[in-house]
Symmetry: C2
Subunit: 436 residues, 2 copies
């Protein structure tokens, strides 16, 4: 009994083999085909010039015949969606009512959208599906947004502090007297076009598919059995964008753009753990973005869900213990080595896909990049975006215990306008012990 491969039979161009077999462990049959229509799936032509030519991304689980991707929507939250169905709280047939949900700001389209190799890890049409695929929606396809755009007021204690100390001034437009910054917020789910994702990692598409299947312990066999399905919705976190000023100004190289790409660090971003500089650097970047918008520019924070260098928090905490217990104490010269012993690599964030979101926003130049990471800088400039000034974190914002990380990173090639620590400096134990 073929379960998965039957789903998309109308568009199968080169079915490589039979799909995974699933038994029928209870009397109810596993659903194989369409409920709501006899229509087949719509092909995706990645990088096509218009939304119509490109075709919608259809990851519905309701009507399998319509699916044209591997995986489904909402990243890893699809597991919770399954629990909702198991608990009887959610009807399998539910279709999202998209009334009033459309973006508060129109983003694009930009020329970058129709270059198949420029944007490979998100769907540029993902915010406007209700508009650009209105016909397909009316015909019964369950097409869901993979991007959502809204407005918000964000209130950070550090911004209020900047107001009180006079570093920022309220203008009632970008920053209220109460310290609320007015922003456009964008949530972006990952949508991977596998042929070009493979190219970014300098491996063959076949190898990428195989490794994604094997190294996840067998997730989505379609990765290896359905080479005709070229788009994958991976069950991972996406990105959130905070835009200070007009979103359309991001694409205008004559408007000064201040930007930070920030990788999630829950322990610092939320709880203020002092072992790293994540939250201080983030709030400094927000302050720079607000000031930039106020002087006629535009600001952007792109927040990526890549906890603990995409190693996850368990690995991160194991490394903390190994760093602080090693002979000689917590030193910068052993900073990367300790991560590598536990995780096998120093970093799994792989900034190769990160610039996609900048291209989606039409960005061609970042005038002020609030980041010291050489990996981020290289990825951004390597993708064809010009970078002007680089803004380091001010020394007074670096917590004492985070000095180890900062020294290690500067020695490894991170940008600094100051002195790069030498070998002797890197051997000094600067991190607190575990019992301190």
């Amino acid at each position: 009994m073929s379960v998965v491969s039957s789903a998309n039979s109308a568009s199968v161009s080169s079915p490589s083999t039979s799909a995974p077999a699933a038994p029928s462990p209870s009397p109810r049959h596993i659903r194989l085909t369409s409920h709501s229509s006899g229509l087949g799936s719509i092909p995706i032509r990645w990088g096509a010039a218009t939304a119509q030519e490109r075709g919608p991304v259809v990851g519905t689980t309701t009507n399998r015949a319509h699916r044209n991707v591997i995986g489904t929507h909402s990243g890893s939250y699809s597991v919770y969606r399954a629990l909702a169905v198991a608990a009887g709280a959610l009807k399998r047939e539910h279709k999202a009512d998209l009334t009033n949900t459309s973006p508060t700001d129109v983003i694009g389209p930009y020329p970058q959208w129709s270059d198949p190799g420029r944007i490979v890890s998100l769907d540029p049409w993902g915010a406007s599906v209700a508009e650009v695929y209105a016909g397909e929606l009316a015909a019964g396809y369950d097409i869901r947004p993979t991007i959502a755009v809204t407005q918000a007021h964000v209130i950070l204690p550090e911004v209020i502090d900047a107001l009180q100390k006079g570093r920022l001034k309220a203008d009632g437009k970008f920053l209220t007297p109460g310290g609320a910054a007015v922003v456009t917020k964008v949530a972006v789910e990952p949508v991977w076009y596998l042929p070009e994702v493979a190219r970014r990692f300098n491996c063959s598409e076949t190898d990428l598919r195989r490794v994604l299947f094997e190294e996840t312990g067998g997730m989505y066999p379609e990765l290896v059995t359905r080479s005709d399905l070229e788009v994958f919705l991976p069950p991972i976190g996406g990105q959130t964008l905070y835009i200070f000023g007009k979103p359309r100004d991001l694409a205008d190289t004559s408007v000064e753009l201040t930007a930070r790409i920030h990788d999630e660090c829950n322990g610092s971003d939320v709880f203020g753990s002092d072992i790293c500089t994540c939250r201080p650097y983030l709030t400094h970047a927000i302050e720079e973005c607000i000031a930039g918008a106020q002087r006629g520019g535009v600001g952007l924070i792109a927040y990526s869900r890549k906890e603990g260098r995409a190693l996850g928090e368990v690995t991160k905490f194991l490394v903390y213990n190994a760093r602080k217990r090693q002979v000689g104490g917590d030193t910068a010269d052993q900073y990367f080595a300790r991560t590598e012993c536990v995780a096998g690599v120093q970093d799994m964030r792989f900034q190769e896909l990160m610039p996609d979101v900048f291209h989606w926003l039409g960005i061609q130049k970042i005038h002020r990049l609030v980041s010291m990471s050489n990996m981020k800088f290289d990825a951004i400039t390597g993708s064809g975006i010009a970078v002007g000034e680089r803004i380091n974190i001010p020394d007074e914002l670096i917590p004492a215990d985070a000095r180890v990380e900062m020294d290690a990173k500067m020695a490894a090639g991170y940008f600094t306008p100051g002195v790069v620590p030498d070998a002797e400096e890197l051997k000094k134990a600067k991190g607190r012990g575990l019992s301190e």
Copy 2:
């Protein structure tokens, strides 16, 4: 060619069918069997009295013959691990060097650990694998911690404010003069024992497995083909615990315990978005935990990765737009309806699994629960944990735009010591418009 079902053949008790077939799209063969030893997999006896009788959770992708679970480690970050292998940065054979990584505080074992139905979504032995499975590790099994315990100093601007205003006082032990709170931090990855997870959701294990497979678009066919594998490592976020005071006091009902279970809200927790009360309530709970520890008690924040009620951030932002654009404006009486129109449910967090972490910590009584959620309260007390006082968020911490949410929740049964808003009150538009 059988790929997945061959992996665990030594322990297969009732193989229900053949496993998914995978083709060999390039000359290299997909790895089927052991590299490092001829040993088979070790059975898991969930809820057994000792670690030895229970057996280790083995989710390695290196030696498939050793695997005794569905899925793999690090939640959704296994996808990044796969990218690391695809990029040539990580050796498939890498085994974590666990030197110096062991927990900074010993948690348990507690009697709750050997009740198979009490803890069903995490591995109680997951922090101490290097110790309790030393023999198996020496024999060549790649056993990884699913829990990590470390120490940290956390510095929150709101706590510094409480110090400056005299609501908290530094003692040099729980709270430094600089405003750093001294905590034990614990990261916990999900480990699901499927028979009992199904029981929590009042469905059959067969139905749970089928729905998890179908509603994720076909993730892990082993869910339906390998009923002998009863443990699943789902690719979702886990929990982080922040303990203020001695971890062992959590299990002592004579020590006052202040606790909050907090579900992730990136927009508020990190960026301070004013549409909800998430960060203000969280920082209030941290203040309560510090004060509790200082008067001889113990405090606990359990932070769960369930962004946007486990609907994900794209859905959350779509709902924000629908709320603020609807006729009549953003009112409490339409608060839940707008979520349901888009998502099909009001909430997908399903607190049914949440109390597990309390039982892992040995908790039998929460003296002061810093939460107004009736769903959390019902789940905690329903699992056999006594709750004393319930602490609401102080009115002055509720942002103006979050009044809609607060009114809607109180009307729906959330705890409040004050007045529950009536139907007329709920119809008032209290949320800001999108252009405001």
